[in-house]
């Protein structure tokens, strides 16, 4: 016999404490209720008889104390969960790793769906379309979005979630685990863990079917790749020191290679395969960017792949802000991956989404990777003050961006009323007035500037002034080249130690970038009209790059994140937490550190991040995609190999009746207590 419940030391402490309390209560004299009687002499005869039995009463009282102490001892024994050693050693200890990665959302487990995926049956029974009169179409009309793009709205996603869905691989895996839980014997113990980008234990090591059932219900699939190595490490740790340790992996087997540090040792590995079909097409990449020169327009890059073993004809749909933007038909050979560009698009302001489906009304196994999402970078209106006697080239370059609010003032009228993000000094250098924002100097003079202006440099027959050396990685020179610009006259610029010479001639810097007390400046050491730069496409690009750099419009904007990784989302540095709205509409508070909100995303779709309150409130949107070709390979593995060892099949449990001794002890205690209670109230024992 061995105690498998509470530790003996703990039981001893509890027993001593409660036992002492019981004895104390018996030692304390009972405070009797005072009752008046009309004539106490009448009780004397009765009480004389009672006194003769007082010794027996004391004995009964002592026996009652012994009974209470015996009941206490039995209760403590029940808490200890005594079991026979033989019974305990027969039990198995299992850690069930339930794969909840994106590929487990594949819907190929139903027999009808499997026949459709195999091309053996029409898909009319499972296909859902925006037919006239359908709730999807009605809802799309109410929302004012295109029916084909309804799914990219939260309401559309909710509508799909509420409609009857096909059984997924995860549902089938849950059924397998449910059967496993039902077969677990009394001596066996099981821990259930969800395996995705992290490992989440959902239950304790138990054989309680209720707890395991609840844990199973909490498991849900997410749009990430499973970290199998981490899951095995966790399982190994959980099983450390336990006899008959066993890891059971329930999933489709698309788990990737295992890290070199994972050693299973003598822990048995079993595999329960799930899944039937490998037919799948996916959008494996999706990004969007605005054109630098025309930010009202944008281009989209898509990468699609056929991970199945048969050729597929697919229909690629692009939606912008709920409206259909483009439809393409593609032919994808087995295992082929194609990239497609959608250039020169316009119309959408914020959300873009792509959707792919098989032509001819067929289906692939994994619908969740048929969609991809992206958010266009937000446009900011920049307030520009131009201090210039007149410069046609500069005016023309500023006209290219409709998001610029340009105010032009003569040098004598500087400063113009109001506050500006950027002030451009064209050939003039007056004292900088407050509220001028960042400074862009064109051909500056020597006074009132934060750098030194050297002597004039002139082109001659031997040497043409130009940019002999440029920093190509500078955001000021993104998408442009200044290498062959010819300049008639220029003034080399000398900045301080931390200033950066973005473009240099052999005599000195001609393009200087720096910062003084938080105020940025960029200086160009020549008059553009005395060069061929304004005649090049590089001129307006350069002007807009400078302005973008000043107003911090992120030209390196990420249009979508990848699920399964930790996202660092831009947020105000002054806040410590922000509210993140997930694609399903639920909200979650995420921490903000050093101006970045940190979140481990596991669902593809559109997100919204809100921070601050009142006038300081800020919000931004972003998108997340699976973008994992590995998860799109949904072909189920027939076997699972870890470090060259093939996982075995799950052995059947030995179903035996193991007596739970503590239950009988507890029933005995209850029975004795009931008898004692009845006899007490019947005054048989008092």
């Amino acid at each position: 016999m061995e105690l498998t419940g509470a530790l003996p030391g703990l039981l001893l402490q509890v027993g001593l404490g409660v036992g002492a309390a019981v004895v104390l209560l018996y030692i304390l004299k009972l405070r009797r209720r005072p009752i008046a009687v009309p004539f106490s002499r009448l009780w004397e005869a009765v009480l004389k008889d009672k006194e003769s039995t007082s010794l027996f009463s004391h004995l009964k009282r002592f026996l009652s104390l012994l009974l209470q102490l015996a009941l206490l001892a039995l209760l403590l024994l029940a808490l200890g969960d005594p079991r026979k050693k033989v019974q305990k050693s027969e039990g198995r200890n299992l850690v069930v790793l339930l794969d909840a990665s994106a590929s487990m959302k594949a819907v190929d487990v139903d027999a009808d769906m499997a026949r459709v995926l195999a091309g053996d049956a029409p898909d009319d029974e499972v296909r859902r379309e925006c037919q006239p009169g359908s709730p999807e179409l009605e809802r799309a009309r109410e929302l004012g979005v295109d029916c084909d793009c309804l799914w990219m709205t939260p309401e559309g996603a909710r509508l799909e979630a509420e409609s009857p869905s096909l059984r997924s691989r995860l549902d089938a895996a849950k059924d397998e685990v449910r059967a496993l839980v039902a077969a677990v014997g009394g001596a066996d113990r099981m821990l259930l863990a969800q395996m995705d980008a992290t490992v989440t234990p959902k239950s304790t090591m138990t054989n309680d079917p209720v707890e395991l059932g609840k844990a199973l219900a909490e498991v849900h699939a997410v749009d990430v790749r499973a970290d199998f190595s981490e899951a095995l490490r966790f399982a190994k740790d959980a099983l450390r020191g336990l006899p008959k340790a066993e890891i059971v992996v329930v999933g489709d087997g698309a788990l990737g290679a295992v890290g070199s540090d994972v050693e299973l040792g003598d822990v048995k590995l079993s595999f329960v395969p799930i899944g039937a079909s490998e037919r799948n097409v996916a959008i494996t990449a999706f990004s969007v960017r605005r054109y630098p020169l025309d930010k009202s327009r944008y281009e989209v890059m898509l990468e699609v792949a056929n991970t199945g073993s048969r050729d597929e004809d697919v229909e690629l749909t692009l939606c912008g802000d709920g409206l259909l933007a483009d439809v393409k038909h593609l032919h994808l050979a087995a295992g082929e991956s194609l990239s497609r560009f959608y250039p020169n698009l316009s119309g959408a302001r914020e959300k873009l989404a792509g959707r792919m489906r098989l032509r001819g009304g067929s289906f692939d196994a994994l619908p969740s990777d048929d969609r991809a999402y992206a958010v266009l970078p937000e446009r900011k209106r920049a307030r520009i003050q131009v201090v210039s006697p007149g410069n046609m080239y500069l005016d023309a370059a500023l006209l290219l961006d409709e998001y610029l609010d340009v105010t032009t003032v003569a040098p004598k009228q500087y400063p113009a009323p109001g506050e500006f993000d950027v002030t451009i000094f064209d050939g003039v250098n007056p004292p900088v007035a407050p509220k001028s924002g960042h400074l862009f100097y064109l051909n500056p003079g020597a006074d009132n500037v934060p750098f030194k202006v050297d002597k004039e440099l002139t082109s001659d027959a031997k040497y043409t002034v130009g940019f002999d050396e440029v920093d190509e990685k500078s955001p000021l020179l993104r998408y442009l080249s200044l290498g062959d610009v010819h300049i008639s006259r220029a003034h080399p610029l000398q900045g301080e130690k931390d200033d950066k010479a973005v473009g240099k001639s052999f005599r000195g810097a001609l393009l200087l970038q720096g910062r003084r007390q938080g105020q940025k400046f960029v200086a160009l050491g020549f008059d553009v009209r005395e060069s061929d730069l304004p005649l090049r496409i590089a001129w307006p690009l350069f002007v807009l790059n400078v302005i973008n750099d000043f107003v911090e419009e992120d030209t390196g904007y990420i249009s979508s994140f990848t699920t399964g990784s930790v996202w660092h989302l831009p947020a105000p540095a002054s806040v410590e937490a922000a509210t993140l709205t997930l694609p399903d509409g639920s909200e979650r508070v995420v921490p903000v550190k050093d101006g970045r909100a940190i979140f481990l995303g596991d669902t593809a779709g559109f997100y919204a991040l809100a921070s601050g309150a009142g006038s300081a409130a800020e919000s931004s949107r972003f998108a997340a995609n699976i973008s994992d070709p590995g998860e799109s390979h949904v072909a189920p593995a027939a076997e699972l190999v870890v470090k060259g060892v093939t996982a075995g099949t799950l052995e059947r449990f030995t179903v035996g009746v193991q007596p739970e001794i503590w239950i009988y002890i507890l029933l005995g205690v209850l029975g004795v207590s009931a008898i004692e209670w009845l006899t007490y109230h019947r005054r048989l024992t008092v």
Partner: protein
């Protein structure tokens, strides 16, 4: 509202007149109507229509024949019954009852025990006392009432005539349960204060720690004719007690710890019955009129039972 009530209201001073709603419930209209009825019944059944004299036990110079007894030397020859001598050849002396008005003393126990349990016993005792007093007053007997516990705690002087019943009422209404019981001591004081012997009606539960016999014997030894109206409350027999209790006497404060079980209650009930039997046996053996008066029985029914049983009226 009864006739007596109207009379009382009319006779009372204005300041003391009370509305019917304020009247003491103990002697309400219904009670007074029953008194009238009981007075009539007592006359019809026991005394006839003659002037309501009471006859003492003493034989003497009365005109009404009472009994014969054997002649003894020294007896008055004039009372020899010659007719009996001729018929039976025995000398028998004719005895006549001596007529005199009878003194009736009502000794009402007003100890704490009489007020125990809501005062049902004291209330019943007061009603019985009032009813019997009314009968006595109606028969032109001299009626006096004393309240006794460990001493004489209240006293109403002897009075005669039906109209004095309101004085009886007022006296009884003032009596409250108070003090311990010691009938022996109290009645010794009583006999010392009342030289004129007569019927002494003791209305008590006889819960006397010193023994109920003492009080009755004091009356007997001093030539009073005790009439014991034993007021009984059957709830005393089976009190609603259970569990571990500390019992204390409502009069003496004496405490006893007891665990009351069904068996203990059963034994207590037996002890109670033994006590009642002991009282009854004592009275019977000493030729003391004894009548148990249960508080659950209506007082008028009890009075009628007293009349039928005899001992109060002769």
């Amino acid at each position: 509202m009864g006739v007596l009530d109207l009379f009382r209201r009319a006779a009372a001073p204005l300041s003391r007149r009370r509305s019917p709603a304020q009247k003491e419930e103990l002697f309400d209209d219904e009670f007074q109507r029953k008194l009238d009825y009981l007075a009539m019944v007592s006359k019809r059944v026991f005394t006839g229509a003659i002037r309501a004299e009471r006859r003492t036990k003493r034989t003497g110079s009365g005109v009404e024949f009472a009994d014969h007894r054997e002649y003894a030397p020294g007896d008055d020859f004039r009372y020899l019954d010659l007719h009996a001598y001729q018929r039976f050849d025995r000398l028998l002396l004719r005895l006549f009852e001596e007529e005199e008005d009878l003194s009736i003393y009502f000794i009402l126990d007003n100890s704490f025990s009489m007020g125990f349990g809501g005062g049902a016993k004291l209330k019943q005792a007061k009603r019985l006392c009032a009813a019997l007093a009314y009968v006595g007053l109606a028969n032109l007997d001299r009626v006096a009432i004393v309240a006794a516990n460990a001493e004489i705690s209240g006293r109403m002087q002897s009075t005669r005539g039906k109209a004095r019943i309101f004085r009886v009422f007022r006296f009884l209404e003032r009596i409250q349960a108070d003090g311990p019981t010691d009938l022996g001591t109290a009645l010794r004081t009583f006999v010392a204060q009342h030289k004129r012997r007569g019927l002494a009606v003791v209305l008590s539960d006889l819960y006397d720690p010193a023994g109920f016999e003492h009080g009755i014997n004091v009356l007997r030894y001093n030539k009073f004719e005790p009439f014991v109206l034993h007021v009984i409350d059957r709830r005393d027999k089976s009190p609603p007690l259970r569990g571990d209790l500390r019992l204390y006497d409502c009069e003496t404060g004496e405490e006893r710890e007891v665990t009351v079980t069904a068996k203990v209650l059963e034994r207590y009930g037996e002890a109670y019955e033994h006590y009642l039997e002991a009282v009854r046996r004592f009275c019977v053996s000493r030729q003391v009129s004894y009548f148990p008066a249960d508080v659950a029985t209506p007082f008028d029914e009890l009075i009628l039972r007293v009349f039928r049983r005899g001992g109060f009226l002769r």
